[in-house]
Every structure is written in structure tokens, then in C-alpha cells.
């Protein structure tokens, strides 16, 4: 998995340049993006990679930090409860790290906190109007939509810059998010792509983990023998074709090679990684809290088999899951039970397999929530609350229902990240904004990329303009987070 060359590399410089200029001429011809070279005035030095793979656990919909990883004053529900007293709706519990408490319901995550770092000061701009898909676009690409060119997803950057770890395995896999038939799906599609890098670097989308195996199987109704026969017929036909020389060898070869790669994945043991039903029952059950839990299991299997970047999400559907616009406390209790065991088990499994050191696990969400306050103080975002409520009378009003960008929590495990470490803090009383060490999206991305061995100033030239992996190349890794 070492993508760099050492001095023993047999390629001479001339050969290297020749190879590269061939590629560059081909890419120039299609107006494809070109990697920007390091400038001596401001060198792009790729940091040493601390991780080879990245799993992004995306708690979509705006996970309320005070009800999960950043507990505040707790008052149980009682009719007439003052909203002023409704900061957390869950009591706090101890964790495996002294001085860190998180919310009850996340006992398993609490037990593995000593393996990673908890950031409590992740902040986002409110963008004038807090729209989930817009903030998710920003979080996943580092750019605020609309953008002048199609911005690549963070996973596409890794696929492009680092390439696949295993040539048969798709470098970028996206688990759990349906892109058809759900609200804001067009907006979700807009960032779930390879962007200007093209579809090769885009995701393999697996919305249903238990059906993932089907996406790498021969078509329905076609057995292995027929599938192999079909492939053989195709290859014989290619060889027999009298017209194989009418297009450049480059196109012909790359097309046939791609089809062969696909055949190899679909007919090889690598596809077993996609089949979670092959997981031993005991292990399967540890993850099986539903689609999300199964997604975590699938993510682990894919990383074991050589995927570069895997995102697994609780799924964004407007007003569902972590998008707790009403009945927040009850919904959150369900979400706790959905995420707690699988996330912890993923960390433990990676650790027991010796993979955690070289795998970065990131747990994040597009923003946090608060009982009433919209955005950060002084925000231009329109208040989604139409009426000012001072007290809650029914259980369904008990919970954190309003979008809040002033301070959210992120978990990082593995990939050279400190263990048992707490970074940043939010205020103990409203407004619950980050009061120390705020971490922006650009800086969080820079940190993730740094662990993966990618400089935040890595850029490509597209349409004659530079485009960087963090906005304008400005992201700065948070050095304190690395062990």
C-alpha cells in the first residue's frame, strides 16, 4: 500500500517523465484535471501516511451533540419543564477515559473512547439557511454549493490521489444512503460523485448492506457458469474483431481492461467481502442493529479486503433518524441503540485484526442541534422556530429539535490519532458554542487527509484553474490530535 517510490525504483527519470507525459497528453486531450505541481515558494509536501484506509461514519441529519457525545445539564421530562433547563435530555455516564462523560445509551462507545479522540468543538458556517443537503455537500466536498465545477467528494479525492489499495476493489464505497426516492435526493446526488475527476473516482453506492453482494454478482438469474461463458465469448469476440484497429489502442485497451477488471471482481473471491451473510453469526449479531449496523459490518469487511474509503451512514431522510425535528428524545433513544454497538464493535474488530493503527475511523455529522437556538448567535439564518416556547408540556416536545452550527462532536479512531484524548469544548450553558479550539470543516478535512498522507494543499487544475482538496488549500491539520 505504499504509493511512493523509493530511490531503488528502477524507473529512470526520463522513463518516468515519458510515462507521465503520455498520460498527460491523453488527459490534456480530454480537458481532464491535472495535478498541480509543488511550488518551491510554497511546497506541497505530502505528509507520511499514518493510515491506508478511511471509514467515515456519517450520522446524517444533524446529530445533537448534547444528547450524544457532549452532555450538558440534564433534566428528565416533566410537564412544564422550562426550555431553559432542557440542555441534555439524557443523563451522562462515565467512559473508559477519566474526565470524559458522554450520554447514557452510548455505553459501548463509552467503553472504547480510550482508543480514540473526541472533538467537541467542530463548527460549521450557517450559510444563511441551514439546509441539510447543503451542509452535507459542504462537509463532504469542503465547498459550499453551488460551485463553478462539480466538486469531488472527500472519498473521490482519496480514490484519485491515493488510488485503490487493491485494484479489484472499488476505492470509494458509499453505504446506506438511498439516492432515489428520498427527499432532497438530487441535492445528495450532487455531492455523492467523483465530481470533475469523473465517475472512476466516484462511489460504488450500496444503499442496502444486506443486498450489497448483489451489486457485485453476475446479473440476477445468471449462474457462475453462464457468466464465465459470456465473458469468454466476449473475449473471443474482441480477439476475432476485424475492426479492433479503428480506434487508438489506448481506448481499445482501456475499455477491454475495465471490463476485465469488472469481471474479475464479479467472479472472484473478492466479492465475498460484499456479502455480510458470510459473516459468522455471532459476529453478525453484534452489528445487527439494522441497516446502519449492517453497514458498519460491511465497511469493516470492505476495508479488510482493500477498499480505500468507505462511508457508512444512518441515512439522511428529511425528518427521520438524526433529523430530530420533533419527538427528539424518543427518536434519539432509538438512534443510540442503533449506533452504539456497531460503532464500538467496528473499533474493536479493527483493533483485534491489527487494522486500527492503519485505518482512520471518523464519526461525524453535518451540524448539531439545540432546543431552540438556530445557528450561532448573530447568525443570519432564518429562525425555523415560528413561536417562542418557554416550557414543554408533552413528551414529544422534549428533545433537541433545532439546527445548530456552533459546536458539534466528532470521534476519531486509529490512523495515528491520539488515544483517550479530548479536544475542544463547548460552553456549559447556552449558547452551547465551541469555547476552545474550534475546528472548522477545512481543518477537520486537513486532519483526516494528513492522516491519509495527503497535503491539504493538494490541488488539480481544472478548466485552467487550481482546485484544492481543502478550500483554496487553506485547511490546516490539527497537530494536537496526532499521537
Amino acid at each position: 500500500m505504499n504509493n511512493t517510490f523509493n530511490e531503488d525504483n528502477p524507473l529512470t527519470r526520463r522513463e518516468l517523465i515519458e510515462q507521465m507525459s503520455k498520460v498527460s497528453l491523453a488527459t490534456l486531450a480530454m480537458g481532464a484535471p491535472r495535478l498541480l505541481a509543488s511550488s518551491p515558494a510554497l511546497p506541497v509536501v505530502q505528509p507520511p501516511a499514518r493510515a491506508d484506509a478511511c471509514i467515515l461514519i456519517w450520522l446524517a441529519g444533524g446529530m445533537a451533540a448534547p444528547d450524544t457525545l457532549d452532555p450538558k445539564r440534564y433534566h428528565p421530562f416533566a410537564p412544564g419543564l422550562k426550555v431553559a433547563n432542557m440542555l441534555s435530555t439524557f443523563p451522562s455516564i462515565d467512559t473508559s477515559v477519566d474526565d470524559i462523560k458522554i450520554c447514557a445509551g452510548l455505553e459501548n462507545i463509552a467503553s472504547v473512547l480510550d482508543r480514540g479522540t473526541l472533538i467537541r468543538s467542530h463548527v460549521q458556517p450557517d450559510l444563511g439557511s441551514i439546509l441539510h443537503s447543503r451542509h452535507q455537500y459542504h462537509w463532504h466536498t469542503g465547498y459550499v454549493p453551488p460551485t463553478t465545477v462539480a466538486a469531488p467528494h472527500l472519498g473521490a479525492w482519496m480514490a484519485k490521489v491515493l488510488g485503490p489499495r487493491n485494484t479489484v476493489m472499488p476505492a470509494f464505497v458509499n453505504i446506506g444512503q438511498r439516492l432515489e426516492g428520498v427527499g432532497e435526493s438530487e441535492e445528495l446526488k450532487a455531492f455523492t460523485t467523483g465530481g470533475f475527476f469523473g465517475s472512476e473516482f466516484g462511489p460504488l453506492n450500496l444503499p442496502y448492506p444486506d443486498q450489497a453482494a448483489q451489486s457485485v454478482r453476475p446479473p440476477q438469474g445468471m449462474d457462475a457458469q453462464r457468466f464465465a461463458n459470456r465473458d469468454r465469448l466476449f473475449k473471443q469476440l474482441v480477439d476475432a474483431s476485424p475492426n479492433r484497429d479503428v480506434m487508438s489502442d489506448h481506448h481499445h485497451e482501456s475499455m477491454v481492461r475495465s471490463l476485465d477488471n469488472a469481471y474479475r471482481l464479479l467472479s472472484s473471491h473478492h466479492r465475498d467481502a460484499f456479502d455480510i451473510s458470510l459473516e459468522p453469526k455471532e459476529s453478525f449479531e453484534k452489528y445487527n442493529t439494522g441497516r446502519f449496523g449492517q453497514g458498519c459490518l460491511l465497511a469493516r469487511r470492505l476495508v479488510e479486503a482493500g477498499s480505500r474509503f468507505v462511508e457508512v451512514t444512518t441515512e439522511y431522510v428529511p425528518f427521520l433518524h438524526f433529523d430530530t425535528h420533533n419527538d427528539g428524545h424518543t427518536t434519539m433513544a432509538r438512534m443510540h441503540s442503533e449506533i452504539d454497538q456497531p460503532i464500538a464493535q467496528l473499533v474493536l474488530d479493527l483493533e483485534s485484526r491489527g487494522l486500527l493503527e492503519r485505518t482512520l475511523v471518523v464519526v461525524a455529522s453535518e451540524f448539531s442541534r439545540d432546543a431552540l437556538i438556530e445557528g450561532v448567535p448573530g447568525s443570519s439564518a432564518r429562525d425555523q422556530a415560528r413561536e417562542n416556547v418557554e416550557a414543554v408540556s408533552e413528551l414529544k416536545h422534549y428533545g433537541l429539535h433545532r439546527h445548530f452550527t456552533g459546536g458539534s462532536s466528532v470521534l476519531l479512531f486509529g490512523g495515528g490519532i491520539k488515544r483517550g484524548f479530548l479536544y475542544g469544548a463547548t460552553a456549559p450553558e447556552r449558547p452551547l458554542v465551541a469555547v476552545s479550539n474550534p475546528v472548522s470543516i477545512a481543518d477537520l478535512h486537513a486532519t483526516i487527509l494528513n492522516a491519509m498522507g495527503i497535503s491539504p494543499r493538494t490541488g488539480y487544475e481544472i478548466e485552467g484553474r487550481p482546485f484544492y482538496v481543502t478550500q483554496d488549500g487553506q485547511g490546516q491539520p490539527v497537530a494536537d490530535l496526532f499521537a
Binding site: 511512493t4 523509493n6 530511490e7 525504483n9 527519470r13 518516468l16 507521465m20 507525459s21 498527460s24 497528453l25 486531450a29 480537458g31 491535472r34 495535478l35 505541481a37 509543488s38 511550488s39 518551491p40 515558494a41 511546497p43 505530502q46 444563511g128 439546509l131 459550499v144 453551488p146 462539480a150 490521489v161 491515493l162 488510488g163 432515489e180 438530487e186 441535492e187 450532487a190 469523473g198 472512476e200 466516484g202 446479473p219 445468471m222 459470456r230 465469448l233 466476449f234 469476440l237 476475432a240 474483431s241 479492433r244 479503428v246 480506434m247 487508438s248 481506448h251 475495465s258 471490463l259 477488471n261 469488472a262 471482481l265 464479479l266 439564518a381 487544475e461 478548466e463 485552467g464 484553474r465
Partner: protein, 838 residues
């Protein structure tokens, strides 16, 4: 990896030392540098990527600041010219084998006053700048193909240039051939041979109407012995109006970022131009007129292009709607990348921040605050057009007048840039590579300026008739010659023409071709368009029976400022399979269906037509019109809403809906929010019937029946569904159909592994091939050989070779099963020969 030398200081110090040392030491040093370079290059990328020096942003500024005074353009002091890459290479000043021995580096690093460059009375290059140039040399002088110091930037003359055609060679009389034959002969290149009839048929059919020729078409064309059969075929293909429109819709949807789903629609921040666009293609509307209607929309139907995409919330200064307008207009019609200049003066061409904002201010409601890199500069920019030599937009005029002025300037016959940009795009579609390439960089020197200018002048002379240009190109020997086998780009980015370049089918062409073979096209289209040839409509049979309605009328008039809601609830027993409506309102209306804004117009003289198929559901549907009168405040004037719809339902029944006295109005008119309107529940009264005036009657008589006929009659005779008329699917996206959030004028050319996985097992595609197996096996074949021949002709437009026939015959056996036929069809469709227009 050794990381000691990225430090530029270390490198420079070492260099000085080595110069005083032995040759041996120097060689070691150079080897060291080389290996470090490799490491550096490698460290920034895997092998698949191309580290390049950012020539334009890094190297050019240094050369401009320090060297251009004496070594560019006419200035070639000391015989050293920076005008082009070859000038530099041939100057003897650089040694690409031994970079550090280059005289150029020696001079710019030298401390000797008598030799150093720049001369001693001028500022020195910083060490970082020297290192940039050293890396530039080490990377073998990357140089943007479109860049030359000779002129500051290649700046094509604006006005169309008429050229004298070279003499005819070997009887090849098409003007394109006269120009290209000269090009080839001058360069001692071979004139590519003519392709056979079958290859030509397939190429022309795919290029002009996006389909693969059918078995019968292949046979008919092969058997046609007339000498002008290619000419006739081109004419016939271009005359297939619906097929032509279906195919070119893809091209224009990409160019105008129009789609049937996508971002922005959710909050009413975007609207389609599909119906307008499709009609323009059906009727071959002249391109200058199309452009004028896009820039200064006469009705809402073509408004979506300039209105861009608005996401809810705040955007950066470089993506406001006026700046999107500036970027879109520039890119689509002029091949100008205004995205650079939207933030700062461009580094790659002559456009400045003021230019970008000036164009944006044509669209904006007020002069724009100039922002540089998202920060306000304190300056204001009023409306201005990019080429004042043709005239100027009057910033004092109202917005619609400014847009009119801009549309006329854009399509001014002397605006050669406009004509060149579109003919270059058409050339690319048919020939696989632009005369200027990439297509959206029209500041680039064309590889054949004469040909580009010739085509541009032809377009203007033929009144911007796009089909005429397509016909001209397709008729040329050049188009009808064998595809180039060479990679399209030679050394240093220079293109050498050797014939057409094979190009990959678009996602839409591929889907259509598969559906042609398998009969598996979906049943319904998503594009809200009327899809039939308007000239076929029997207008005389149409009777209009709607009435003009309003709220309370006084002497058949209403107050100038009156606004009302007017509604009608329609109950549908079954789904709408076809049908549409016409509507207008004196003075203005906005139509909401299901509380959602559908259509609006403030020009009652423009009768609007509307596809209702996807807008109405089974059960109750309430149409709410927000209507308003106009005129001088305090006066009364005529006011009326006219609506008429004809629908065909899935149960075979038909339904007419028209404005009459059963409709209701309401004086309570709430504000719409983000394209949604919540109509009040109470306060509804019956409407009054307005007595139509002469103008209303004339307007309806003029186009009412025509438009009603179009709306009503598009039904049973609809041709097969084409992929261009469907919403984007994961499969099409994978095959390269863009998400049209940005303008994308060129599709990807490579087949990727992720696409290949979809081609191997994507369920809808697999189902299509399964259906194809059933379809072909249901037919009666005299022998397997006949089946095989038929499959090859249908898929590849040619008979199989002996070895292919044998291979397939063996695979299929004497009793081909649906499964084996399906797999054989799949294999044919996976061939590069199938997937490329060659």
C-alpha cells in the same frame, strides 16, 4: 524516502558548491537531483497522475515580470525569444538532459554583473523564482498549448474573417475538403481513405440522430446503387425531425445545463427550458434566434437558462445569480471561461473582474458591488458587454431592455466569436475533436483557423441554420474518411489532423442503441415536452371553447392593481397519459398545482402551453392561478384569464377542462414562499365572465388553435422513448451523463471499472438484454447463421466475419436459447466497435 532536499535553500547551496567542484561531483549531484525529483514527483502522486508545473500560474508570472520586456514578441534581445516553447527549446539556453547546466539558470543565478540576467540595473529573481524555473526545466518545459508570449494571449479577431478557398484537390470540392486537403498536403500527410458505406451509414446515423441504423436501413443503403446516396441519406436523417430533436436535446441540455431533475428544483430555485428547447430543435430554430430567446426570454419558457440555479441560503460572491449569468452566457455562447475572472482578473486570458461583473450587471437588478476573491472592493460595476467594438449595453436602461441589447450584441453578425464557438462545438460532435480544443477555451489558437472561420461565416450566411452546418460537415470527404488511429495529440500538445477521431457513444446513445436491439425502452418520458412534428397537426379541427374569466367586473373592467386567486378543482378517474393546456392572462398570472408554482407569465400576448401529464394525479387536483391586472394605478382596464386543457387518460377516456363560470375566485392573495403558495380555505366566490375584446380574440385566433392542437394531439403516435427524454439514472450517470448543475460540454471518453461493473450486472440493463434474448428467440430463423448475421447487422451495421460467424454459431448452437442470444447481444454491445462512433 530521503526528504532532505525539498528545502530549496539546500538545493541552491549545493549547486554553488558543485560548480566549483569536479565533474565527478557534478555528475553525482545531478544524479542526486534526478532521484530527488523522482521522489518529489512520486511523492505528490501515484504513477497514474501527472505532476505538472502549473505553467500559467507559476512560471508565466515570473517570465512576464523579469524577461518579457526584452524577449517576447518582436523583442528578441540576444537572439533569445520566449514566444513559444519551441523558441525556448531551440534557443540553446536550456539543456533538458542536464537541467542544471542550462545557460538560462546560470544567467539568472549569476552574480557577475556583465552577464547576469536580468541585467544588473534590474531586480534579481528571488531564489524561489529561480527554483520554479529550474523545476519547469526539469519537467521538460510544460507549456500550455494555447499559450504564447508572442501576443500576450492569443486573441482571435472578433469579426468574422472571410477566407479564399484553396484550389480543389483531386476533385474533392466540398469547401471543408479544399481547406483540409491543403492542410494535409502542406504537411506531407496522407489524405485518409474513404470509409465504406456501412461505416458511413452508422457514423452519420449516430451523429445526426443518435441512433444505430436498423437492419433494414443497413440493407437498403447497401443495395442503393445511386452515386448520391450518401448525400441523400444526410438529408433524410436531418429531415427526421423528432429523431433529430431527441438526439440534439442531449447536446443542448449539457450546454445549457437543463435537466428534468437536479438541484434547485426543490426550493423553486431553478426551472426547465425543456419544452421551449425541444420545440426549437423540432423546428430547427435559427441559432441566433435561440440565443436571443435564451438571453432575453420573451416568455418564461426559455427563462431557466439565465436564471441559473439558486440554492437556499447565502452563496459566495462568485456564485450569485448575476455572476452565474455572466459565467453561463460566456461559456455557452462564447467559449469564455469567466469563472477565473469572477474572483480576480484572469491569469489565462484577457478577462478581468470588471468584465465578469459588467456582464453580470446586465442581469442584476442594480449595479453590482465588485468582490475580489469574495471580499468587497468598494467599487461598483454597471452593466457592460465584453466586446464594445460591436456596441454597448446601456446601463441606464431597465433590465429587460439591457437583456435585449445584450442578446442583439451577442448575435450581431459581426460577432465572429459567437459563430465560431457554436460551429466548433458542432465540428467536435461530428469529428471527435474541436478545431479549438477544449471547446470552452475559445481563446485558444485553432489548429486550422481558416476552416473555423469558413464554417463561422457559413453559419452566418445560412442564417444560423445549424442543420445546414451539420449537412456541410457530414457531406465532406473529411467526415466520410477513416478515423485516425493516432492519438489526437502530438508532442507538446500540438494537434495534427489525420482524419476524424473515434468517439465514445454518449450514455444516451448507448441506452438507445441497446433499446433498439432489445425493444426494452421504457414506456414514458420525463421531459415535459410535446413530442411530435408540429407540421403534422390538423389545426382546422380544433375548436376553442374556454371563456375569459375574472372576479367582479365593473363595465367589463377591473382596477389596475387588482390581484386575485382563481381556482378550479379537477377530479381524474385515471392517470393522464398525454395532453396539455394553453393559458394566458391579461395582465399576468402564476399557476400553482398542488400549491407548487408551475408556470408564470406577465405578457398576456404570449399564449403559454403546458404539459400536464406529470403534473396531475389521480383524484382531486386543484389549479390555483394567482392573477393580477395591470395599467395605470387608479384606473380600470380589461382583465381576464383564459385556460383550456385536453387530456387523454389511461382508461382511454378523454377530458376537456376550460375556464368558465364554474371556476371560483378569492380576494385574499397570500404571498408565495419558495415557489409554494398556500391558498385560503374560505372566501371563494364564483367568477364572472369577461367579454373578450378584439386583441384577445386576435391573439387566440392567431396561435390558440395551433398550440391547443400541439397540446392535445401528442398521444398515441409517439415514437419510442429515447434516453435523452428520461431523468438521469444511476446507470446513465455512470456512463457519463453529467449531473447538469454545471455546464459540461464534453463527456468523458474513457470507460471506467465502475461503469464496467454496471455494464456487467446493472439490473435494468441486464433486464433489457434478457428481454432482447426473448425478443430475438421469438422470431423464426431459417438457421443460426441467419440469426447471427442479423444480430451483427443490427448491432454493428455490418455482416460478421467468417471467424465471428463461426464463433457465434458455436456459442448459440443449432437451437439458440433466449439466454444464449441475450449473452451474445451483450457481448456485441460491449465491443469497443459498438461503443465507439468510429
Amino acid at each position: 524516502m530521503d526528504r532532505w532536499l525539498p528545502s530549496t535553500v539546500a538545493a541552491r547551496t549545493k549547486l554553488r558548491v558543485t560548480e566549483k567542484n569536479s565533474l565527478m561531483f557534478r555528475k553525482q549531484y545531478i544524479q542526486r537531483i534526478s532521484s530527488i525529483l523522482i521522489s518529489l514527483l512520486a511523492a505528490t502522486s501515484a504513477i497514474a497522475q501527472t505532476p505538472t508545473i502549473d505553467f500559467v500560474h507559476e512560471v508565466v508570472p515570473i517570465l512576464k515580470q523579469h524577461c518579457s520586456g526584452c524577449h517576447v514578441g518582436q523583442e528578441i534581445k540576444g537572439g533569445f525569444s520566449l514566444n513559444s516553447r519551441s523558441d525556448v527549446v531551440e534557443s540553446g539556453m536550456v539543456d533538458l538532459e542536464h537541467v542544471n547546466e542550462s545557460r538560462l539558470l546560470e544567467l539568472i543565478s549569476s552574480n557577475r554583473q556583465d552577464e547576469q540576467m536580468p541585467p544588473s540595473d534590474r531586480p534579481r529573481l528571488s531564489s524561489a523564482e529561480v527554483d520554479v524555473l529550474r523545476n519547469w526545466l526539469a519537467a521538460e518545459l510544460p507549456w500550455n498549448a494555447d499559450f504564447s508570449f508572442g501576443k500576450e494571449y492569443y486573441d482571435p479577431p472578433l469579426r468574422p474573417r472571410r477566407i479564399a478557398l484553396p484550389p480543389t484537390h483531386a476533385g474533392r470540392n466540398n469547401p471543408i475538403d479544399r481547406i483540409l486537403d491543403k492542410y494535409l498536403i502542406d504537411r506531407q500527410l496522407e489524405i485518409p481513405p474513404k470509409v465504406d458505406d456501412q461505416t458511413f451509414l452508422r457514423r452519420a446515423t449516430l451523429d445526426l440522430i443518435g441512433l444505430v441504423p436498423t437492419f433494414d436501413e443497413v440493407k437498403r443503403f447497401s443495395q442503393d446503387g445511386s452515386p448520391d446516396k450518401r448525400e441523400k441519406l444526410i438529408e433524410q436523417l436531418l429531415a427526421r425531425k423528432i429523431d433529430y430533436a431527441d438526439h440534439w436535446l442531449t447536446f443542448f441540455n449539457d450546454l445549457l445545463r437543463n435537466d428534468y431533475s437536479g438541484t434547485g428544483f426543490i426550493t423553486g430555485g431553478r426551472r426547465q427550458i425543456s419544452q421551449w428547447l425541444y420545440e426549437a430543435l423540432l423546428t430547427n430554430k435559427p441559432f441566433d434566434q435561440m440565443t436571443r430567446e435564451l438571453i432575453a426570454p420573451p416568455t418564461d419558457a426559455s427563462r431557466g437558462f439565465i436564471d441559473g440555479i439558486q440554492w437556499r441560503g447565502s452563496t459566495s460572491a462568485g456564485q450569485t445569480l448575476p455572476i452565474q449569468f455572466s459565467q453561463s452566457i460566456s461559456q455557452s455562447f462564447l467559449g469564455i471561461n469567466m469563472k477565473c475572472a469572477s474572483c480576480h482578473d484572469s491569469f489565462i486570458d484577457r478577462w478581468t473582474l470588471k468584465d465578469a461583473y459588467g456582464l453580470g450587471a446586465v442581469y442584476a437588478d442594480a449595479p453590482l458591488q465588485l468582490h475580489r476573491c469574495d471580499k468587497p472592493t468598494g467599487q461598483q460595476q454597471t452593466a457592460a458587454w465584453l466586446f464594445p467594438e460591436l456596441g454597448q449595453v446601456d446601463p441606464a436602461s431597465p433590465r429587460n431592455v439591457r437583456l435585449q441589447q445584450l442578446s442583439l450584441l451577442m448575435t450581431h453578425p459581426d460577432n465572429g466569436r459567437f459563430a465560431r464557438t457554436i460551429v466548433n462545438r458542432l465540428w467536435y460532435q461530428l469529428m471527435g475533436r474541436g478545431l479549438v480544443h477544449p471547446l470552452d477555451a475559445m481563446q485558444t489558437q485553432p489548429w486550422n483557423t481558416d476552416l473555423l472561420d469558413y464554417l463561422a461565416c457559413e453559419l452566418v450566411d445560412k442564417n444560423y441554420d445549424l442543420k445546414a452546418i451539420l449537412q456541410l460537415i457530414a457531406s465532406s470527404e473529411a467526415y466520410q474518411s477513416a478515423s485516425s488511429r493516432e492519438p489526437p495529440v502530438k508532442a507538446a500538445g500540438e494537434f495534427v489532423y489525420c482524419g476524424p477521431v473515434a468517439r465514445r457513444m454518449t450514455a444516451e446513445q448507448f441506452m438507445d442503441a441497446v433499446w433498439q436491439l432489445t425493444d426494452a425502452a421504457p414506456n414514458t418520458i420525463a421531459a415535459p415536452i410535446f413530442r411530435f412534428d408540429p407540421s403534422q397537426v390538423d389545426v382546422e379541427s380544433i375548436k376553442l371553447t374556454g371563456q375569459w374569466i375574472w372576479g367582479t367586473l365593473t363595465n367589463n373592467q377591473s382596477p389596475a392593481d387588482e390581484s386575485l386567486l382563481i381556482r378550479k378543482t379537477i377530479n381524474l378517474q385515471d392517470a393522464v397519459i398525454s395532453g396539455g393546456a394553453i393559458v394566458t392572462c391579461d395582465n399576468a398570472f402564476t399557476l400553482y398545482i398542488g400549491n407548487r408554482e408551475i408556470l408564470s407569465s406577465s405578457d398576456w400576448t404570449q399564449l403559454q402551453s403546458l404539459v400536464l401529464r406529470d403534473l396531475l394525479k389521480v383524484g382531486d387536483n386543484t389549479l390555483v392561478f394567482r392573477v393580477s391586472n395591470g395599467g395605470t394605478a387608479g384606473t380600470l382596464g380589461p382583465a381576464g384569464l383564459y385556460f383550456e386543457a385536453r387530456l387523454s387518460l389511461a382508461d382511454g377516456s378523454s377530458l376537456a377542462i376550460r375556464s368558465d363560470d364554474s371556476w371560483e375566485f378569492n380576494r385574499d392573495v397570500p404571498q408565495a414562499r419558495e415557489g409554494r403558495l398556500s391558498a385560503p380555505n374560505t372566501g371563494w366566490e364564483r367568477v364572472s365572465i369577461a367579454e373578450p375584446n378584439v386583441s384577445w380574440n386576435q391573439m387566440l385566433a392567431r396561435e390558440g388553435r395551433q398550440k391547443m392542437a400541439v397540446a392535445e394531439l401528442q398521444s398515441d403516435r409517439v415514437p419510442a422513448v429515447r434516453a435523452s427524454l428520461l431523468k438521469n439514472t444511476p446507470l446513465m450517470q455512470s456512463l457519463g451523463r453529467p449531473i447538469r448543475d454545471q455546464i459540461v460540454s464534453m463527456r468523458p471518453t474513457e470507460l471506467t471499472t465502475l461503469e464496467a461493473i454496471d455494464l456487467a450486472n446493472e439490473p435494468t440493463l441486464a433486464a433489457a438484454f434478457a428481454q432482447g434474448g426473448d425478443r430475438w428467440s421469438a422470431q423464426v430463423w431459417s438457421s443460426t447463421a441467419e440469426l447471427v448475421d442479423s444480430m451483427f447487422v443490427s448491432a454493428l451495421s455490418r455482416e460478421p466475419s467468417e471467424s465471428e460467424r463461426k464463433l457465434f454459431a458455436e456459442y448459440l448452437g443449432s437451437h439458440p436459447t433466449p439466454d444464449s442470444i441475450s449473452d451474445a447481444l451483450w457481448s456485441l454491445c460491449m465491443l469497443p466497435e459498438f461503443m465507439f462512433v468510429r
